[in-house]
């Protein structure tokens, strides 16, 4: 089979669309002024218009108001701003409990852990073996003292999509705020902030063929939140610093050109990837929601028995295929995936897990090439493994 380059790490980040790159360049080279004031000079007003235009586009995709969108440097900042900013803005001294799910991104989990050290009551909500929030556990943990609950929409590793509406209903019964990190599901799955009743929602441009280093936070009008960095009065006085005008404009462009038909094509290719892996390779387990309509359309995560993920990743890399694993050997902290462990799986299951993240640039030929090589690599490693049972 002729060598290909197949980038399948699109749950980490995506290629910038050519139209986005071109549009951004205009704000690097021509309209490069700062968007600081409505009373600015003409170049400044052009920059401000570009930022507001992007704000409007993104607000529309969520059924939100334009003033409810704040631009940040990405999902990590949006998540940090949410938990810390809501605490800063909180006036009800009775409310000092924070609940987050066990499968959140580290920007939520570790922020919560840091707040616990500062004396806040922090608890972690359980998930079941498909990665869905245990609503009974949430009901057990939540009470009138709960300030905020944070549960991500689509999980970055296993792709499971939560039913945000049912979580939101529980959270609001107790007068608590509800935040969701929608970084990995945004645009692939429709989100209506009013229908869900979410109070804060995290987004990132780089997952939707926009640039890196740009994100947004939806903040429902009236939500008590105070900025956590000091500086200027940008972004409705919630996020100081010169706006990343090219990045924000690019984020808006990426949302504007996002195409649902492409999402359908991606979903079909993802399903095809899973069915061919399943038919060719023995002892494969699916990680995440088994109902494929409750997964992020571009995500597949499977574990192969008897083999270790870093070896699979490296072999595939040598063959031009980019994927990642939840194995401890692969991670910077040498920890196995906290998501798979929270779902109740063994370390072995995490060590053998591989995440495939598709995009609109992936073709059926890419998938055939990938499955061919995954099969060969896993077979070779099984022959090497002392765990393989013949």
């Amino acid at each position: 089979m002729e060598r290909r380059e197949v980038y399948l790490d699109n749950n980490a980040t995506t290629r910038v669309d050519d139209r986005v790159a071109e549009y951004m360049n205009h704000f690097h080279l021509t309209d490069y002024a700062v968007a600081s004031s409505q009373f600015s000079h003409i170049p400044g007003i052009r920059a401000k218009d570009a930022v507001d235009n992007a704000r409007g586009i993104i607000a529309n995709t969520l059924n939100a108001e334009q003033e409810e969108i704040i631009f940040t440097s990405g999902d990590t900042e949006s998540n940090n701003l949410t938990l810390n900013g809501v605490i800063e803005g909180n006036k009800d001294k009775q409310k000092k409990k924070i609940l987050v799910s066990k499968i959140e991104h580290f920007s939520v989990l570790d922020t919560a852990k840091r707040l616990a050290k500062k004396g806040y009551a922090v608890d972690f909500i359980n998930v079941n073996n498909e990665g869905f929030i245990d609503l009974n556990h949430l009901e057990d943990l939540i009470d009138e003292s709960t300030l905020i609950v944070s549960v991500m929409h689509g999980n970055h590793e296993v792709g499971t999509l939560q039913n945000l509406k049912s979580i939101s209903e529980i959270v609001h019964k107790y007068g608590s705020l509800f935040h969701s990190d929608a970084t990995y599901s945004y645009l692939q799955v429709p989100i209506d902030v009013n229908d869900i009743g979410v109070d804060l929602l995290t987004l990132s441009a780089d997952k939707v063929h926009g640039p890196k280093g740009v994100g947004a936070l939806y903040i429902r009008k009236g939500t008590p939140i105070i900025k956590i960095m000091e500086g200027g009065y940008q972004e409705y006085n919630i996020r100081p610093g010169v706006e990343n005008v090219p990045g924000i404009a690019g984020f808006g462009k990426a949302c504007e050109i996002y195409n649902d038909e492409e999402t359908n094509k991606i979903k079909n290719l993802r399903n095809y990837l899973y069915s061919t892996i399943k038919s060719k390779i023995d002892r494969v387990s699916l990680n995440g929601a088994s109902d494929f309509n409750k997964r992020i359309p571009n995500n597949l995560n499977v574990s192969f028995d008897y083999v270790e993920g870093e070896s699979v990743v490296l072999h595939l890399d040598m063959r031009g295929i980019s994927v990642i694993t939840g194995s401890a050997c692969f991670s910077r902290s040498l920890h196995a995936s906290h998501v798979l462990l929270a779902m109740g799986f063994s370390h072995e299951r995490a060590h053998g897990s591989i995440r495939f993240g598709l995009s609109k640039y992936i073709t059926k030929e890419d998938i055939d090439y990938t499955v061919y090589h995954v099969n060969e690599v896993v077979e070779n490693l099984k022959n090497l493994s002392p765990l393989t049972k013949s």
Binding site: S311, S327, A328, L334, S385, P386
Partner: protein, 214 residues
Amino acid sequence: MSLPYSEKLIKYFMHPKNVGEIEDADAVATEGSPACGDMVKLFLKVDEKTKKIKDIKFKSYGCASNIATASIITELAKDKKIEEAKNLSWKVAAEELGGLPPAKVHCAVLAVDALKTAIENYEFKKGLIKEKKSTTIEIIKNRLKHVINPITGVDVLKVDFIKSIDLNDGIVKIYFNLDSDHQFANNIREEIIERLEPLWDIKEVKVIFNDEEG
């Protein structure tokens, strides 16, 4: 492009030597476990007269460093007398491979330990060593030399991470000068337990971090 591995390591990873099992092996040893993500099983065939390693094969569940070091260790040990092979260290293996990233040194240690344990098993079986030694603080320290701090690639004894070691009635307590929320705390804890629990007279291993004392 700066891949974390040397070209030689990648070559051994892609095409490992001496892979497989020896059906009538004189000694077998397994180090590591699937839970920690690294496991090596080693098979030895020893010439009774010359005490030379006639054949050596391995199977590996693990990452690239694990596979590559297991492969090079089998090559280095083959045709050596068991006395000589015993002295092979992970440093020799790592040097042969053109160096290892610090976080991956523990994978190299595993293959070396498997070789040492296999040779000990052979010696015990053939009556070359008579009895199993009781575990002492010295033996524990020797084993801890194989627990590598993933940040520096240096063993945990060398950098004063360990405040004290307590051994009482088969229960080992190791007091660490590190907080439990340190990036690698869990990793080091698992690694230490994994190294000490196989000792025949050890019942329990406790690793205690600064904030867990009292």
